[in-house]
Symmetry: C2
Subunit: 152 residues, 2 copies
Amino acid sequence: MAEANWSVGKVAKRCGINISALHFYEQQGLIQSSRNAGNQRRYKPEVLRRISVIKAAQKVGVSLDEIKIAFESLPNNRTPTVEDWQQLSKNWQRMLDGRIAYLQTLRNNLSGCIGCGCLSMTSCPLYNPDDQLAELGSGPVLLDQAEETARL
Amino acid sequence: MAEANWSVGKVAKRCGINISALHFYEQQGLIQSSRNAGNQRRYKPEVLRRISVIKAAQKVGVSLDEIKIAFESLPNNRTPTVEDWQQLSKNWQRMLDGRIAYLQTLRNNLSGCIGCGCLSMTSCPLYNPDDQLAELGSGPVLLDQAEETARL
DNA sequence: ATAAAACCTCAACCTGAGTTGAGGTAAAGC
DNA sequence: GCTTTACCTCAACTCAGGTTGAGGTTTTAT
């Protein structure tokens, strides 16, 4: 087990993030620290990797909550191995594949739908690109035919 | 000029959004309304299209501020034409193209970089995918060689 | 005529991902 | 020993994109 001898300042500088972000990640349960005699945080070098992974995941659009859940699948009795980390990243990769495909569909429909004015919530392909991934939780409302076919 | 006779409730229902969102968009200068004798909002039918475009743009990741700027390029002396709207969407399409390419790069580097542990802010390809598009405004900090090459 | 539904404004609240600042303690440099 | 720098906690603030609620008015339906 590597010794915990990195200070917040060093970790923050090394990772290119603010100290406040480290406090915040700790408070959110994403990283851990021990304390020295004077109550100052001391980190094991492993934390650097965790933070890198946090930043990488955020960059691809994973939320801190999701990152936390993913981290919970890591072994807590030993330092994670290459395989552990790769396993983690695979899920995010699948998610990214889905998101890329989704954006491509949107991209291809955007100009057509905005141009043609067909932007109806119920029938426009832009709003209905088979989205398992839809951000819209509740989804658009169904209207009666009379209203829906009203001219814009 | 079409008459302004849509109430908030009708517009909201038709668009599948809350009335509060309509108030909010108006306050942000994205849509307009006139008022009837009793101070209630009345919308021209054109507002439906604007709202659809707002929702479409949001879906592809455009912020309300950016949408507002885009709307400012629309003619204010006449109802926008198909060409006006298509012009609008072209910029968003280009932006989407860039973002898709960016995500693809991230996707392809993710597993490798997380697995190999090379996640250094200064040298890992995940953090440096030629990103004109990087969300990180300030970017990672440069460290002296001694620190950067320290073993993790 | 009256009740219900729809509308109004304004202020406060929500989530996510942190940042900022006040007031105080610890460690490091000279 | 003293000063500077680094660190601590806790609460409040930021931004986007709205939502919620209170207290009051208008419109619509019966």
